[in-house]
């Protein structure tokens, strides 16, 4: 079995507070893993460990390891810039740059040293096509990205993420601020993107986890309680705590 991501005994500390406790899990290539659990259970912290976003928070500490393609991303020589290229991230609130739609996508390519205009144009187009935005914006590429609707902005952020050709996409509640139609588009997009990328999504919407993911991991107070195929988690979870959370007895 080919695993894209292997997390081994990962613990993460904010000062002395252990926010993630000895988590080990593996994620297969081209699958969607959903992380569920009540607020403060460590899902987002865990997600940010995978592209080392937590590095920028002072007084934090990581124990254990995360391997991507069998390479330790916390090894001293590992290039964090390369890591962030390989592991893209989409946030709860869409955060397009205050630039044109075109530039939002071209920017990442340019800072990665791509200068060929044709190559940039092609990548902008294919990224927008993959996120289903091309037909909606092809005649207004030079307009401000901020003129787009919330759902379109979020898809633009996903287009921006995939333009630099990552292997992994991390999504932190990508649809929680969107209306049902935009949410559906994002969910369909996740389904399509998984043929090319490995996706980890944090969501508070249990039905969304059930709809989009292949596997689901339930976190509680920094620990991984249970991880299994999404079908099993939502029909017959192994742990009582998972069941109680899913049927709304707590959380």
């Amino acid at each position: 079995m080919e695993y894209k991501i292997s997390v081994e005994d990962l613990s993460f500390y904010y000062g002395n507070t252990e926010a993630i406790k000895n988590i080990s899990l593996k994620v297969k290539s081209n699958t969607v893993l959903a992380l569920i659990g009540p607020s403060g259970c460590g899902k987002s912290t865990f997600l940010r460990c995978i592209n080392r976003m937590n590095d920028i928070i002072p007084e934090t500490k990581v124990k254990g390891d995360i391997k991507i393609d069998n390479e330790s991303i916390y090894a001293p020589k590992y290039d964090v810039i390369d890591l962030r290229k390989q592991v893209g991230m989409v946030f709860q609130k869409s955060n397009p740059f205050p630039k044109s739609i075109y530039d939002n996508i071209a920017y990442g390519l340019k800072i990665n040293g791509i200068k060929n205009r044709y190559e940039i144009d092609t990548t902008v187009k294919t990224s927008l096509e993959k996120t289903g935005l091309w037909d909606e914006v092809k005649n207004r590429l030079n307009e401000s990205a901020l003129s787009l609707s919330g759902g379109q902005q979020q898809r633009l952020c996903i287009a921006r993420t995939i333009a630099v050709q990552p292997d992994i996409i991390l999504m932190d509640e990508p649809a929680s601020a969107l209306d049902p139609i935009s949410t559906q588009k994002i969910e369909e997009l996740i389904h399509e993107l998984k043929s090319e990328y490995t996706i980890i999504i944090v969501t508070h919407n249990m039905q969304q986890a059930a709809r989009v993911s292949d596997e689901t991991a339930f976190f509680y107070m920094g620990s991984l309680v249970e991880m299994n195929s999404t079908e099993v988690i939502f029909t017959n979870p192994g742990r009582e705590m998972t069941e109680n959370y899913i049927i709304g007895k707590f959380g």
Binding site: N205, Q207, A210, F234, T235, N236, I246, I247, G248
Partner: protein, 216 residues
Amino acid sequence: MSILTEHELKELSSQIYKMAELSSEAIVKSVDSLKNSKIDLAREIIENDNIIDSLEVEIDNECIKLLVTRQPAAVHLRLVLSYLKINTDLERIADLCTNIAKETIRLKGRPTLKPLVDIPRMAEISIEMLKKALRAFSEKNEKPAEEVIEMDNAIDELNLQIYRELFSYMAENPAKISEALGLIMVSKALERIGDHVTNIAERAIYYIKGIDIRHE
């Protein structure tokens, strides 16, 4: 996230128990009508089948409403799905009882071919099985459900015994073939009732343990 409330679960459960009570009553009354040539009682069973049919539709609609509006998961999902399925089994049990009642009417007050012993016994066992299967649901305990599955063998045995007995009877008394066939039909109906109750027990195990033991 939508969540099924305790109140909604109780309401749905009480409808299912009501349905089971009516089906159980239908078994008792149909066999009583046959054994004691009670034609009026037989007619009552056939008329009351409408009530059970309406309740079946009501329960189905309630289950569908909860699935759509509450989107239950885990144990709640298994319970609603199980109720949706056993609702059909309970309705079928009542239907089979109307077949027995029709046999009573067909006999027009004449006594049955021979005094009924095994047929009432089959009815008693199936009622006991139904009680146990529902207890498995209400107590969330798989033990009574497992016993139900065992008990169905006794019903199948009695059915075979009745077949054998009536076949030899028919060979000896060709004039009584029609009446003997009537009793075979009744026996078959009770055997089918046992199968439906077994389905209910299997759904109880699915609800409690999350495993599907059908066809094992």
